[in-house]
Symmetry: C2
Subunit: 240 residues, 2 copies
DNA sequence: ATCGAGGCTTGATCTACATCATTCCCGCAG
DNA sequence: CTGCGGGAATGATGTAGATCAAGCCTCGAT
């Protein structure tokens, strides 16, 4: 069941492309029309920043299309991509006054902006909205925990397999006609910084997956998963 | 301001030792007395499990004293401590039906148990409870993000410094008479599995911190921070 | 068509941390 | 006090992945 189906015809988010998980589903048309047009929509070209480490965090954003990365930078320049955010994800759920990390569009991106204070008041008034927001945060927490396991204990090959599996789950094409396609809008450097590796290692692991016939790169930004079974085993740390 | 000060004299959680952050503060005495005695209290000796990977996740727990660890185990035995939970923290905030990780008492521990379904209904009825729960999840998410940076990009020395800083913030003694003491109820192996290292490396880094006069171990389970400044610099990745 | 720049891949070497192997320490039972 | 057992520390060696250094596509500008 798509989100579209859940909304009345005159629902102002009817044309919003994000999934059922979207917070807007938690509100009826009247409440929503009051709620939504407070922050407006934001469009970013690939590479454009949404905010920087240290900026005032008075807004929450919902990604409606494109991909955003959350970036941490250590004083000496080491970089860690904390998370990639896909359509349906929220940016800025943390409750700090200032952003701990910077956010940047990976590909051309559209977002909905919500003022935090207003969000709070609506959450108090509409339990369904509060519940949806909580569910989002809990699910972000669950994937952060998975990522901790990956960074703490998995090998380079396992990390890349986990990554491809995750991205496929989030924005990959379904198994129509047997082809599992994974778009990779981010650079190898971004993937490396996400996996806690270097771009050289990521590159090498890509070619290992290719020569093992587990993936077939259609281009730099699109890979086909040839052997989902072995891919999953690698991702979970089962393979030899 | 302590939590105690916020609660009426007849508040049933008046004697609960956890901080202001506790969810109970979000409820008045009547609502709370209805709410609390549904799950009861749990006492665990050091080493006892609270639940296992795969168990039905129908409860949420609040740590009131002691320390709990969340454990991930890969098929071949590699282990990752996803997080340590200190008094005031919640266990099982994730929304999955089954636990992704196992939970085990590190030291003798007391917890409050809440039934998830009941929790949900109360959250819908009391916005303040929902908000407090959300704040908890958001703060867990923020520290998970910090941990991702640590595991992805910090050196062994930096990881240990980060860890000691964090533990001090959570359960260390204040700077009375200049002595910053950090209790370490968990084993070196647990610390290693938390930091994505081996116990040998953790041990070596402890002695390096000692020989650099940054810490002075009072015993295996209690260290004094001699140079908080350099400690913090190390933790943030500033040191050479 | 040609050039150039930036990102990707591949190769050679280096190193931080893992692994394997003792030894040490300390609490505890006798 | 003495001997024992398990965690912690230390030492010797191995290795996954980092770093350094070329080449090599790809695509857009000329």
């Amino acid at each position: 069941m798509t989100k579209r189906a859940l909304l009345q015809d005159d629902h102002p988010c009817r044309d919003c492309s994000v999934s059922t998980e979207s917070l807007c589903c938690a509100l009826d048309a009247d409440a929503l029309s009051d709620f939504r047009n407070q922050g407006g929509t934001i469009c970013l070209a690939a590479g454009e920043p949404l905010f920087h480490q240290g900026d005032l965090a008075d807004c929450v954003f919902s990604v409606t299309s494109g991909v955003v990365k959350l970036n941490a930078i250590l004083p000496d320049g080491r970089r860690q991509v904390v998370t990639f955010l896909f359509p349906g994800d929220f940016v800025g759920l943390e409750m700090n006054d200032r952003h701990e990390f910077s956010a940047e569009a990976v590909s051309d991106t559209r977002l909905c902006r919500f003022l935090k204070g207003r969000f709070e008041r609506f959450a108090d008034r509409y339990p369904a909205l509060a519940a949806a927001r909580y569910r989002r945060a809990a699910s972000e927490l669950a994937s952060a925990h998975q990522k901790i396991v990956m960074l703490g204990r998995k090998t380079a090959a396992e990390r890349l397999a986990s990554f491809l599996t995750d991205v496929h789950r989030r924005i990959g094409t379904a198994e129509v006609s047997g082809a599992k396609l994974v778009p990779l809008p981010m650079s190898r450097g971004d993937i490396a910084d996400y996996l806690g590796l270097t771009k050289e290692t990521v590159s090498r692991e890509f070619t290992r997956l290719r020569t093992s016939r587990i993936i077939r790169p259609r281009s730099v930004t699109l890979v086909e998963i040839l052997d989902p079974q072995r891919m999953r085993e690698l991702a979970f740390g089962i393979a030899a």
